[in-house]
Subunit: 212 residues, 2 copies
């Protein structure tokens, strides 16, 4: 299985030129969340902000879904929510548009050092990514091994393969780091953008357009 | 100005086939929110749910952004948010993927009968749609004239044109209904999907692919 094989709807063709490719320079440093006191989410948000400022892509994190139960409307001030609960999202956290493509991804962190536990994902997130891929979106996950200071961009086909095998007889409940390293992209860290993941997306798009 | 002219990034080309087109049948009935007790948002959510069930498109409403200030963690029950405030979204409400295209849109309602007041939109929503169009997304607004039981799909280029003219000398603060009727698409109402807007998106895509 190639990590770059992307399943598009039957007969769906893509043809876009590469003039619009980003030219992101960065210094190659390892990630170090422990020292920097930043979360993966904050880094991705800063990255997306920079991509927007550079007019490279429009990608946002979706707000956390919250079920509002009670709201006070005090005079002369903003409505105050006094009872609410977190709900589970039915989609992934991030999406947007880049070079005409719909991007859709999730970010996950693990402290494990040798494998990534699949229970970090929810069934509905995988289902959402499968549907989105089927309709021509580019889906992936940014997976951080925080103890190793390593972040990988994992293509959805690789993720789906590993997700599905866990339900088979003797299926593994985690993806070995070795497999991730062999078949996916280690992301470099730079000051700005923090996690230049669009460089890897460019490679995915090249593969789509070669197959086209 | 043609309502179907779509500005894509310089050199960006699209080429997709039409085999995947939806075949949505519906009875042509006028909208009537007053009688049905349904909101525009509820109807769009039901429509998107149906499109997802029919495996036609993956489109979701983004959750309302809420700033959480205080959370209680009671024993043996779910975290309870006890102080929070609504924040203004920096994007549009709906987005997703259809036939390989990134869709991005906003829904607005007016009780006016002769024009649509532009102050229903916020500057940042228009800016977001301009950026998204520039990167190859298909942007539009679903505008409901609730007193007339009419919903239009308004292409972003038409909206941008009217948005921008309001800042010119003698600029109008609203879009006359006559102009909307002349240059945009009146949506039909059906039981399921409620507001079959993808039929019009199919026309927009056809135009993109003809220009290609």
């Amino acid at each position: 299985m190639s990590p770059l094989k992307i399943n598009y709807p039957k007969g769906q063709r893509f043809s876009r030129d590469l003039n619009n490719r980003s030219n992101q320079k960065q210094s190659k440093k390892p990630f170090n969340y422990s020292n920097r006191g930043m979360s993966l989410e904050e880094d991705i948000n800063l990255t997306n902000k920079q991509y927007l400022a550079d007019n490279l892509a429009v990608i946002h994190k979706k707000p956390t879904p919250i079920q509002v139960v009670k709201v006070d409307y005090p005079k002369r001030s903003a409505a105050k929510i006094t009872e609410a609960y977190y709900r589970r999202s039915s989609t992934t956290d991030y999406n947007g548009v880049y070079r005409g493509y719909h991007l859709d991804f999730e970010a996950k962190e693990t402290k494990n050092k040798t494998s990534f536990p699949l229970n970090n994902f929810h069934e509905h997130q995988i289902e959402h990514m499968k549907k989105t891929s089927e309709h021509g979106g580019i889906c992936f996950a940014l997976i951080s091994f925080s103890s190793l200071n390593k972040i990988f961009l994992i293509h959805s086909d690789f993720l789906f393969h590993w997700w599905d095998q866990q339900f088979e007889k003797h299926g593994r409940k985690s993806i070995p780091l070795k497999e991730i390293e062999k078949r996916n992209h280690l992301l470099s860290y730079s000051y700005n953008p923090r996690i230049p993941y669009l460089e890897v997306v460019d490679q995915l798009i090249e593969q789509i357009e070669i197959l086209d």
